[in-house]
Amino acid sequence: MNLRIVVLAKQVPDTRHVGKDAMTPEGTVNRAALPAIFNPDDLNALEQALRLKESNPGSTVGVLTMGPPRAVEIIRQGLFRGADTGWLLTDRLFAGSDTLATSYALATAIRKIGGVDIVIGGRQAIDGDTAQVGPQVAQKLGLNQVTYAEEILGIRDGKATIRRIIDGGVETVEAPLPLLVTVNGSAAPCRPQHAKLTMKYKNFQTPTTWSVADIDADSAQCGLAGSPTKVKTVENIVFQAKESKVLTASDADVEGLVKELLAEKIIG
């Protein structure tokens, strides 16, 4: 079966390796100090897409991303690993989107792409950790949905069989296409960049770039205007600092602490 596969991918600041200069003195995020990376779970999603392409000859994989012009790098990374094409949604009108406005833009673009059988995204992005955009896209397009997927086991007779992780266990589900799947970070890691493809797409700079008007989106549903959630305040947290008892790693200090905790019946 020829599948038309779209991978949702996001360029994110690498919040896992935050240095001391990650925050400005005013308490806002200093994005310039954080490297921009391919959202980790989205790489797991890309791998599932590429495997489906291999097991279903004639299938195509396209990477759809929304972001500033430099997010074209995400599409390049996808092409280097085996994707066939990409679409970049970029427009100032998309700025300030919450998850709902983001899902509106992505869903509208997927409708424009047309004929999509399966949409695969990472479970969540590390700069928000919400896991909301995938299901919100699925709802807007009326797609079936399988979240927290570990592996797409196969597609037969227009139905995908998928193993997913649930709280305290695992499930295997069968879902008819068209379908949206979100993939866990614990799923199979993405293959590395392919040398020949990297050479081929080395100078690739201009994927299909779409603005709000290009996808016939309603600007009232995009960006800040289309976001029901508003950020009221953002604060650096100031912890209620305690008076700490500072000890060394010496035998005397460690034994003293253990005795104190035992004497006060805090442990034991």
Binding site: T15, R16, V18, M23, V29, L100, S103, I126, G128, D129, T130, A131, Q132, P135, Q136, V137, Q139, N144, Q145, T147, Y148, T161, I166, D167, G168, G169, V170, E171, T172, V173, E174, A175, S227, P228, T229, K230, V231, K232, T233, V234, E235, I237, F239, Q240, K242, S244, K245, V246, L247, T248, A249, D251, D253, V254, E255, V258, K259, L261, L262, G268
Partner: protein, 341 residues
């Protein structure tokens, strides 16, 4: 009557999830503050006669039980149809869900359908006023959805001024459950599922559903030994299991330790993991990102073992041992064994 507070009660078989009961307790407080009712909704198979006693004592004025074989095991579309249909009819102002696999699958689908705002993994929920900076419009009583953001480096307060319901998910253990001392109406209704769920919504089939009882009781542990990226390796991390064994403690981990593969994800403590409230929390090689501290700051006694004397977690620690975990952890084991007899 509209504008009530709704809690989606998650079930496994006929067992109501603890996180749902925690949210009922929080929802009751919010409803009291707003002067409205607390309503609950449960959807599954074989619930009638089994879930009522697990839900009503938390101060529920009205419980909607949707009972039908198509509703268990959970799949997205039928549960979405139920909440969307029920909310169009009842028009609640607030909806709370557990930030579980089910809650995080269902919440965004419902919010997308109703175009309402949803905030994930809130660590605090409060009621307060809001003035829109652009329009100057004032709102008296909005739900403040408070959560660490951006990898836990900041805390954001989110509001949904104009869309209802205001939706939020909360992780297990963040709120504390308590039976309601006041009196609530306790009405129970059993709506006709077919009125809400179309046959086309039931096309995803669960072929195999396997759930095991938790391997550990981190959430309820009275002593927690937790390791961070400073444990250095999986082997290094494993010595915490030894310390935990002698102390009769449970082992937890920071997100960095889980991401590094030192430990299973179900032991992660923090905003995107488990929230713990132990008597003693021993943080080993944990620097103390906000998103971690959000999950353990209510521990009674905090002991930090860190080679960096300026590790942020030391600020909230009662005892700080400046030293490497390789040196200190074996000593803790040795001197506990020596002195506890």
């Amino acid at each position: 009557m509209m504008d009530n507070v709704f809690v989606y009660c998650e079930t496994e078989g006929a067992q109501v999830a603890e996180v749902s009961q925690e949210l009922l307790t929080k929802g009751r407080k919010l409803a009291d503050e707003l002067g409205v009712e607390l309503h609950a909704v449960a959807a599954g198979d074989g619930l009638k006669g089994k879930v009522e006693s697990q839900i009503l004592p938390y101060g529920v004025d009205k419980l909607f039980v949707f009972d039908d074989p198509v509703l268990f095991p959970y799949t997205s579309a039928p549960h979405t149809d139920i909440l969307v249909g029920l909310f169009r009819q009842e028009r609640p102002q607030i909806c709370l869900l557990g930030a579980t696999v089910i809650g995080r699958d269902l919440g965004p689908r419902v919010s997308s359908s109703l175009t309402s705002g949803l905030t994930a993994d809130c660590t605090q929920l409060e009621i307060g006023p809001y003035t829109d900076g652009k329009t100057g419009r004032e709102y008296k009583q909005l739900l403040y959805q408070i959560r660490p953001a951006f990898g836990g480096n900041i805390v954001a307060t989110i509001v949904n001024p104009d869309h209802r319901p205001q939706m939020a998910t909360v992780r297990s253990g963040v709120m504390q459950k308590a039976l309601y001392a006041g009196s609530a109406r306790g009405e129970v209704v059993y709506p006709d599922v077919a009125q809400y769920v179309s046959p086309e919504a039931c096309v995803v089939k669960v072929l195999d559903h396997h759930v095991e009882a938790a391997q550990h009781n981190l959430k309820g542990a009275s002593i927690v030994v937790a390791g961070g990226y400073g444990m250095g390796s999986k082997e290094g991390f494993d010595q915490l299991f030894e310390l935990a064994k002698v102390l009769h403690a449970e082992v937890g981990a920071s997100r960095a330790a889980v991401d590094a593969g030192f430990c299973d994800a179900d032991r992660q403590i923090g905003q995107t993991g488990v929230t713990v409230h132990p008597k003693v929390y021993i943080a080993c090689g944990i620097s103390g990102q906000i998103q971690h501290i959000a999950g353990m700051q209510d521990s009674k006694i905090i002991i930090s073992i860190n080679s960096d004397p300026d590790a942020p977690i030391n600020q909230i620690a009662d005892y700080v041992i400046t030293g490497t975990v390789e040196e200190v952890v074996p000593k803790l084991i040795k001197y506990y064994k020596k002195n506890s007899k």
